[in-house]
Symmetry: C2
Subunit: 174 residues, 2 copies
């Protein structure tokens, strides 16, 4: 029996509970829902409206985009933009319209798909210092990125409800 | 070389990116944060206060507890309580105090830990009909349960902010 065949047979028995392919699809599914949530905001409310003294949805979206864009780069290359230089921290990058913001969102979608398949499988178990500040295993950092997106998007849902706007269905990842 | 040795050698090469042990710890970490969020509410506000016409935090917590409690049972046994009979759907089960609610929360914490190690690894890849209504692979259903908890907890964060109460730090899973 050749090594490859042994490997294949044994790994079929192991059933890893999440594959890299399933995880990126999970992430992109959440990203599609967040995109729909951003879209649901009226143009002016996206940049100005908030509840409880929190950031408007555009500010939350900027943080999510920073973490996705510079996060996937850090995961793939090991080079991280320092947390203090992220766009939502420096406030140097501003989007002037919903379309501009969503265009950037869509560029990140393409970037993630392009970069993902270059990540060696063992990379997910390596410990790194994300954005020069947050130490963790790559897999845990990734889950944190996704969780942080779910967290802030859900706050956008409350903003929409108080505006009398029905948010997109939570189960809709298409 | 014995079968076990072949299996072990090959699986070391595979590096599954999430193990069942890591996933349950991820879930319980989120559950600890949600518990802190519930605790942060003043007793009366927990059951009565909401924003944008949404359910109070106690209602959101009841949904999260149903999904966790009856969800882990369904995953372990294949027997699911129908969605229409879940406590938050029938409204038959009420908690009269924060302590009562948190006591039930803590019972579910113990239950998850007890049941988890009885789940065969291949179960995570099986397709099932959660609560008689939602078809999916067990692993995807589990991620959905966790995501749904993050989503509703984040709405509780907005409630707390509007009450002038600082929510627990999002990164705190201890």
């Amino acid at each position: 029996m050749e090594t490859n065949a042994i490997h294949q047979q044994a790994t079929q028995g192991l059933e890893p509970i999440i594959s890299p392919e399933a995880l990126v699809e999970h992430w992109q599914g959440h990203r599609r829902l967040t995109r729909k949530t951003i879209e649901a905001f009226p143009e002016d409310k996206l940049f100005s409206y908030s509840v409880g003294g929190m950031r408007p949805m555009a500010g939350l979206a900027l943080e999510i985009m920073d973490i996705s864009e510079d996060g996937i780069t850090g995961i793939a290359t090991g080079e991280w933009k320092p947390v203090a230089e992220l766009d939502h921290a420096t406030e140097k990058v501003k989007f002037n319209s919903k379309t501009e913001l969503l265009d950037h969102w869509d560029q990140i979608t393409v970037q993630i798909n392009q970069v993902w398949h270059q990540i060696p499988q063992q990379r997910f178990q390596e410990v790194d210092l994300a954005f020069g500040a947050y130490e963790g295993k790559i897999i845990d950092l990734l889950l944190y990125f996704i969780d942080n997106e779910i967290h802030h998007r859900a706050q956008g849902y409350v903003y929409l409800r108080t505006l009398g706007i029905e948010p997109p269905a939570f189960w809709n990842r298409f």
